[in-house]
């Protein structure tokens, strides 16, 4: 095995400032550089660890909210269905307002007429408040053009018909 220490650098490089001259062996590694690098690495590691733990806590809270939303949908409709779709973006990514859609009768996901509920507010007894909603025909995505029979204040202006 060979390394850079075996090479002789051309004399032209000797005119370079000392910090720019080619080095030849790891043994000559400046301790100060290594110390600065290690310090920066530790700081970056702390930031990443903090961000990760914060994100796990944040996601756990989101999950708790979604559990309450799913439970609310099941209680409101009286259907114990598990294939429900959750839209967290429709009413704003950070709004904590969710739209939960599911079938109104048994069948594969989106294969029947669907009911969508707009849910937000604090969790009370494992549920959140329903503030409105709409219906969708079978086999369609939740787009304004397909919505009908809007109900409740949160659905104002969200139905095309």
């Amino acid at each position: 095995m060979s390394d850079a220490s075996e090479h002789v650098d051309p004399p032209s490089l000797r005119g370079l400032p000392r910090w720019l001259r080619p080095g030849s062996a790891e043994a000559g590694e400046p301790r100060r550089t290594r110390l600065i690098e290690t310090t920066l690495l530790v700081l970056a590691g702390l930031l990443l660890a903090l961000a990760t733990v914060n994100d796990v806590a944040r996601q756990t809270h989101v999950n708790q909210r979604l559990i309450a939303d799913l439970r609310t949908w099941r209680t409101y409709t009286g259907h114990d269905y598990h294939n429900l779709s959750i839209d967290q973006a429709l009413l704003g990514e950070t709004s904590r307002r969710e739209v939960i859609c599911g079938n109104t009768s048994p069948g594969p996901p989106k294969a029947r007429t669907q009911i969508c509920l707009v849910i937000y507010g604090p969790i009370v007894d494992g549920h959140r408040a329903v503030h409105g909603g709409w219906y969708l025909p079978a086999e369609v995505e939740d787009e304004r053009a397909y919505r009908y029979a809007c109900f409740g204040p949160a659905s104002l202006g969200r139905c095309a018909r």
């Binding site: 080619p22 080095g23 990760t52 944040r58």
Partner: protein, 427 residues
Amino acid sequence: MPPARRRGLATVLALLLIAATAEIVLDGAVGHSALIPKSPDIAGWLAGIGERLGYRVFLIAILVFTAAYAGLILLCGRTSPDGISKRWAIVLVGVLQAMVFAGPILLSTDVFSYIAYARMGVEHGINPYLHGPVAIANDPVYRYVGHDWRHVPTAYGPLYTLLSYPLAPLGLKGALWGMKLEALLASVATLALTWRCACARGLDAVRALIVVGANPLYLIYGLGGAHNDLIMLALMMAAVGFTFADRDAAAGAAVVAGTLVKATVAVLLPFMILSRRRLATIAGAVGAIALAALIGYAAFGIHGIDLVAALNRDAAFVSTDSFATEIAHLFGKPGVFPVDHDLLKVALVLIVLHLLWRTWRGYDWVAASGWTLLAVSVTSTWLLAWYTLWPLPLAVVTRDRRLLAATLFIQALFIIHQTSPLFAPVQ
């Protein structure tokens, strides 16, 4: 601790690794799980033993695996050569790899994209560098391709695309097994080359084998998903091995070959050139680029050799697991904004410039390459589990222990980030 007791502890940890892998593979074989992509039935013969793989069981298995892996690495550092023998380590890693190979595709639909691109070229005469899999919507593989990738042309290099072409006529199941076999062979090659490089540098090869071969992300995510990153890693370690054997032209050519599988590995080349300071490295790389450009252009046209466009496109994606997204959330932002992409690119450029200067001044080029690959994955807004594998084989063949510590730390954070369903399972 006496050697016999150390060996006993190592055996217990190895059994935990095997048990956790068996749990994931056997439960995964049942299918009908959000963790197992919809797939042709290739592991049905295992399906009668386990139960449907849920998040809770998967996460507990991964955490047990990770804890046992960490214990084994600590034991390796202290006991080798009298504690963990060469044969013991090879058998353990071999058993783990064989178990994952025999099971279903885990955690990712990427392998179906690979097959779709191959079938586009071979069965349908469509250039996969111009069209996404949607162009073959009537092909049996199409329904298995991930929704996000159906309109996306291939981002992989022409060498990988050509390697995948012979598998296209084998049918869906045949191609799937072909992809799994390719991934297994690439994994074995990576481990063998890592072993050889560790020996060449006078480092503990047994420890190197266990750190890479029994790594939870390498095994469950990388090999389990039959990702082509393993082929890239094999070529990367071949390049490192060639430089250790003073075969600089071959080393330069191997880096280029790896780049033609997945462009990320190109970052090795400037460090290799700066450190080795030999014309042969450049000559080897230029020769390989010329040959590859010729073949790539003949097979796929100009788009087949335009790797920069593919990289730019992928750099714009954002995943929830990326550290950029996590930091955005930490500062109260909903996600990553365009300006954040620019800031991350500036940070990456500064890191690379510093590492180039350090390499010029005599720092180990292998470690510098590993740091760069780690920086690429950490600053990427599109982070997937197998991206954190890139620096791992380099980290075990360098004397700078900080690189291995940092790589394993990043991997640990990635695993921790997956655990929120344990605290609040949504059903």
